[in-house]
Symmetry: C2
DNA sequence: GCGCAAGGTTTACATATGTAGTCGCCATGA
DNA sequence: TCATGGCGACTACATATGTAAACCTTGCGC
């Protein structure tokens, strides 16, 4: 059941993740573009964004496509893969690998609203079909 | 705000979490006891466990109950709370706060086995009752 | 042509984290 | 009573992470 991951495990950090989100939302953006999207919210400077972009490229999480004298950054890993990996990590670490346990916990701890429950039910019905 | 400040937000790290699990499983254990449980698996030395225990006490995640010249460590926070917090953090960060989205993702990414699905369905039915 | 602005690269530095050694105290058995 | 071993406290140190400044290169507008 191994995911098609071959990077030795270059974890993406919290701060880096914020940058990834911007690029998943819209690929091929410059450092300035990314900053435009997050610097305000996170109180970062352009320099910080540059650093994070570099580190992400090094980690193989981003691709830097040359565009004249600058780079257009694009995710090298799909959001789905990342989200899946993180989710799995959580489930493994806290729920003994049982996703059902996670759902159970969410439900019991009232982290799920009635609407959530309805949505999940609908979803399950669909999956069963 | 004295030393024994109660910070609900003091993050517990991966390594520290391993120690917490041992104590959640069985409270009031000494450093040596805890080591007994994890040193082998994680390849840690007793010293490492001691450091982690100290940090956890500082963070307010553990209580050190004096027992003669040593301490019996006990979780100061319930596992439920920790698990809930971590789950919520993940949901917020990756699923825009929608727990249902998480479940949807798990389902779609086949992280849920048929049995998981069945369990969840049963669970939902119960919650509806 | 030339300086400036835009971009990436290097360097920086504090705090966090993983992992562990060392110090000093003291209860206990020889 | 005295050496020992067990124990927490203090110290250590490399790497990771957050955050950013300094620096270097080069295309462009004037």
């Amino acid at each position: 059941m191994s995911t098609s991951e071959e990077h030795p495990g270059e974890r993406i950090t919290e701060a880096e993740h914020a940058v990834m989100e911007v690029l998943w939302d819209r690929p091929r953006q410059t450092a300035a573009d990314v900053c435009e999207e997050v610097c305000a919210q996170r109180g970062w400077s352009l320099a910080t964004v540059k650093t994070l972009l570099s580190r992400l490229v090094q980690k193989g999480a981003l691709l830097a496509e040359p565009d004249g004298r600058r780079f257009l950054y694009t995710p090298a890993i799909a959001r789905e893969a990342y989200v899946g990996g993180e989710s799995r990590r959580l489930v493994d670490r806290l729920f003994g690998g049982s996703a059902a346990s996670l759902v159970a916990h969410l439900a019991e701890s009232e982290a799920l609203t009635d609407q959530d429950l309805a949505e999940i039910e609908a979803l399950l019905k669909e999956l069963r079909a």
